[in-house]
Symmetry: C2
Subunit: 165 residues, 2 copies
DNA sequence: TCAGATCGTCTGTAACTCAGACTATCTTGC
DNA sequence: GCAAGATAGTCTGAGTTACAGACGATCTGA
């Protein structure tokens, strides 16, 4: 059947071009984002992931390393040295959790918050640059759609990803 | 200034939660996609990237390894052993480019096209699973927006990403 | 024809990921 | 109160991966 079917016909009917593959588009955009973000975040320990840790440490109530690791999608061992670097730079600090002495609560220092404020502004400009091909309304739409997916797609519990801490 | 401003105020005004970070959402969705796709593509050499190579080798005219590498966002040395594996599995084949004897044109074998057809169907189901939190219209919208970005965001030449070969 | 660029390959090094062990601590059941 | 198992964070080591650089073959332009 496959051998007798003309190749051109196959291509059109059963095998879509790679551009229509969600994975390809997702990967291409993600790579572009990381590459651009790394330039802006070069001075921040941990790059884009360090930025996300710092953001999480600043907003909301302090949370444990492991919870944060799950939320950001990094291994717990990676989280250890990610925080090591940020702490060494004086941007975040680990405090023992009074309710559980095994755990450390992560919170940003004043320097960390100041650093985050200016970095977030620069990153926002990078995001706009990346989203430039889209109309303003489309940009907001894309952000919303991605956020909606990201906060629900954890397979085990539907909202694990959504709960920051 | 930073020290005298209440933390809560900082958080609301200048430091958005990580969930509003495009990079976080993009990363979370991308990780989820790769994790799901790898299950379906476990039997295919190279996993998701092998799938994209096979897809590109099937659709359109045959193209060189380097062009394909740029298009898929992988290093040329990675592309070499990626194709090695696919060729060893009998799914693609390298042919010398008659117009440039340095280059190899990549094309899928009949077995490769058959393999791709069934794998693409399975992958499409995975994609729908991942996009499940969205309404049907939103899914198409997200695909379109991502494709629009992916085909235009290459910094050097705006359409380099878009041109498959 | 010659210099420089390019294609694909190979090699080695650097970086990264992740399983597993370990200590300290919490929780549960008795 | 105590023992057994689970969990948080850290550390180590093994395995994988990415990527710079060199290389031969070939193309292109002067």
């Amino acid at each position: 059947m496959w051998l007798s079917t003309p190749a051109r016909y196959d291509a059109v009917v059963t095998t879509p071009a790679v551009e229509s593959d969600l994975g390809w588009a997702l990967g291409a955009v993600f790579r572009g984002y990381v590459r651009s973000a790394e330039k802006v975040l070069a001075h921040l320990p941990g790059g884009p992931r360090g930025f996300q840790v710092l953001t999480s440490a600043t907003t909301g109530e302090p949370c444990s390393q492991q919870t944060l690791a799950r939320h950001l999608g990094v291994d717990k061992t990676v989280m250890t040295y990610l925080i090591d670097d940020l702490e060494r730079a004086g941007l975040v600090e680990r405090r023992p959790d009074p309710a559980d002495r095994r755990a450390r609560l992560l919170s940003a220092t004043a320097a960390g918050r100041a650093h985050l404020a200016e970095t977030a502004a620069a990153l926002r400009r990078v995001e706009d640059e990346i989203l430039a091909p889209l109309a303003p309304a489309e940009r907001d739409l894309l952000r919303d759609l991605l956020r909606k997916l990201a906060t629900r797609q954890e397979p085990g519990s539907p909202c694990e990803f959504a709960s920051p801490c």
